[in-house]
């Protein structure tokens, strides 16, 4: 993605935002530009899919940032407890609720990144997969982490799937319930 294009888009967005600004009276310029560059980053990742080599190289630095986001050394020996503690410590540093208002935008971005990292590292299955991608564990060894054996891993995955199925069926059920309610209230 060329720099030229980026600045072009920034220009475009500022135009839209100023229109929006005069219309709405809100001051969202910065966040908008920021959002755009974020979405750029994601777009960039997509472009790279065709080019496997670049992707892997980039992934490695990008994904190591999950550990970095939690201020931890990329190491599969880090315990779940350590990850949780690190998450809380970083949350107290970066949560927009307790940061100075002038840092609000930045802290929001940092906290969203922190959450993304925690979602992966806090989940034993996702963490294993990603440790493997980082080359922290070799797939063949599959060292047990936190007493999670292979069978434990597959059980976890199975539980995940079960959870998802139950959630969907619950959704359907509640969906049915509320449509009945709607019907009732319309005809009252």
């Amino acid at each position: 993605m060329s720099k030229q294009f980026l600045s072009y888009i920034k220009y475009q967005i500022i135009m839209v935002v100023s229109l929006h600004y005069s219309f709405n009276g809100s001051k969202q310029q910065l966040s908008c530009v920021q959002s755009l560059s974020n979405s750029h980053r994601r777009l960039k990742a997509n472009v790279n899919i065709s080019c496997r080599a670049t992707k892997l190289a980039e992934e490695k630095t990008e994904k190591a940032s999950f550990y970095k986001a939690l201020s931890l050394e990329p190491n599969n020996n880090v315990t779940v407890q350590e990850i949780k503690t690190a998450y809380r410590r970083k949350a107290l540093e970066n949560h927009p609720d307790i940061c100075h208002p002038s840092r609000r935008k930045e802290s929001t971005r940092l906290f969203v990144e922190l959450n993304k990292a925690y979602e992966t590292l806090g989940n034993p299955v996702l963490r294993k997969e990603y440790d493997y991608q980082l080359g922290l564990v070799s797939k063949f060894e599959r060292p047990t982490c936190q007493g999670t054996t292979d069978s434990g891993l597959s059980r976890e995955r199975w539980e995940d799937q079960l959870y998802e199925l139950r959630r969907r069926s619950d959704n359907r059920m509640s969906g049915r319930g509320s449509s009945v309610n709607r019907f009732r209230c319309r005809h009252e």
Binding site: M1, F5, I9, Q12, I13, M15, V16, V17, H20, N24, S26, Q28, S31, C32, S35, L36, N38, S39, R42, L43, N46, V47, I49, Q81, K84, T85, R88, R89, A91, L92, H95, P96, D97, I98, H100, R104, T108, F111, V112, N115, Y163, R166, D170, N171, R172, S174, G175, S178, S179, N181, R182, R184, C185, R186, E188
Partner: protein
Amino acid sequence: MAEQAYTVASDGETVEDDRGSSVYPEIAIGIDIGTFQSSVAVWNGSQVDILKNTKNQKMWRSYVTFKDEIPSSGVTNQISDEFEIFSGSAIFNMKRLIGRADTDPVVHSSKTTLPFLVQTLNIGTRPFLAALVNNVWKSTTPEEVLAVFLVDLRVIAELQLKRAVRNVVLTVPVSFSRFQLTRIERACAMAGLFVLRLMPEPTAVALLYGQHQQQTVHDNMGSGSENIAIIFNMGAGYCDVCVSATAGGVSQIKALSGSHIGGEDIVQNIMHHLLPNMDSLFLSHGNNEMKAMGLLRVAAQDAVIKLSSQDIVMIDVDLENGLRICKVLGRPEFEEVNRKVFEKCESLVEQCLFAARVDVEDISDVILVGGCSNIPKVKSLVLELCKKDEAYMGMDPLEAVVCGAALEGAVASGVSDPLGSLDLLTIQATPQSLGIEADGHTFVPIIPRNMTMPARKEMWFTTTRDNQTEALIVVYEGEGKKVDENRILGYFKIMGIPSAPKGIPEISVCMDLDASNVLRVFAGAVSPQTHQPVMPFLEVRMPTVDDGHGWCAETLVKMYGSALDLSILQKKMQQ
């Protein structure tokens, strides 16, 4: 919601003066607006103080009487007897009615059980509300009533704190829609208050619990193990459940669930039980009917309260005009009459535990708060579901929410405590799913319920017709599978999608929810070849429609059919 959308400038001067003279920044006060009663608390520098009104009460009845030209509220008004509240001149239950359309079942059930006028035309607009003043029904709105109440509340707070009060943290039910939140903010603005934070009630309790934990376990942050608490909050108007994981003063909200059931439903059920033909009897809202309704309501309320401490209650009430109710009501009968309410409580607890993915064995504490947590059946059902013998003892069930709000007020105002008792944080989760319409009338959540806030998530969509160049993004909130089961928040059109067979164009929809719960939707088409935006993206702050505008969705369908529809882009989903 921190944006200064509705601030009232009238008293800005005095605030500035006060700020100049005080060393500390203005500490936001915590307000718990209840359906039945409200309270105010503030951090006094070392602990939380609950403010008392002129009658030395901590809990102030939530109502406003429109007796003379000037309305007066339950904060300062000296009501000699309960019946005066039910004479038609008082409006209460604002929290139940605010931000609801006239098709809402909650509004419907209020029509014959509340002793003031609630008129519904059943077309999805706002209901008409009126108080009886000198034999004339005078119209008002829930937020106006709430604003009058808040003004009085503010006066008392300013008198006691000897300073101007402007910033507030307000607690709200989990099940409140975005429209209801907007209405609450509007009422605050009308009262000259600036809402620093609207926090779901059980999360305020989670914050207080976090402080308790920190005081008991001095081991700061480190290996201090995580405590899983389930918080069950049931008041007169709403029931909320929350599961939080707390360690080192940080409470992470794992899941939330809530519904508009509460003590009010229980009272209404008892009223119906005592007088089965009540609905037809009271529909006319004549003076006699109003009086009878008031008498019946007081009797029902009394019975419910007494049944919390005794097994049986004797009801003897003369409704006049030859109507007299004499009845002995036992606890089993009471529980049978309210079976549906208790079943709903159970399902809320189960739903919350399931969504939090917590085993009941891992729960450290069951925290029961709110007026209805005194009802033996409620207590036992929650404890049974959580397999615990006893509830958490360290909190006053009526004061926990407002104390939590006051703590949040101090934390959000940037106050720090040398003893570290304000090193607290609640990491909030989204109470409702947010998404858009796609694949027919399917609701596609982009930010799901119980996702950590602030949140940002992107999803990819595509066109449903060949050479479709425009697409409608219709944003909804709710848990229904179909969009018409959810609330429409707004809509906008993206244009300039490159002509291509259906399913080829790539449309990105990104939702951004900041820490103040402000929702922004960011959308645009991306060229599949170059992966670059074909047109500038659009950023829209939601909601763009007002409450009572649910018909917008139907009108959109009428106008455009499915010409501008979207569907999920499958190949992008799999990446």
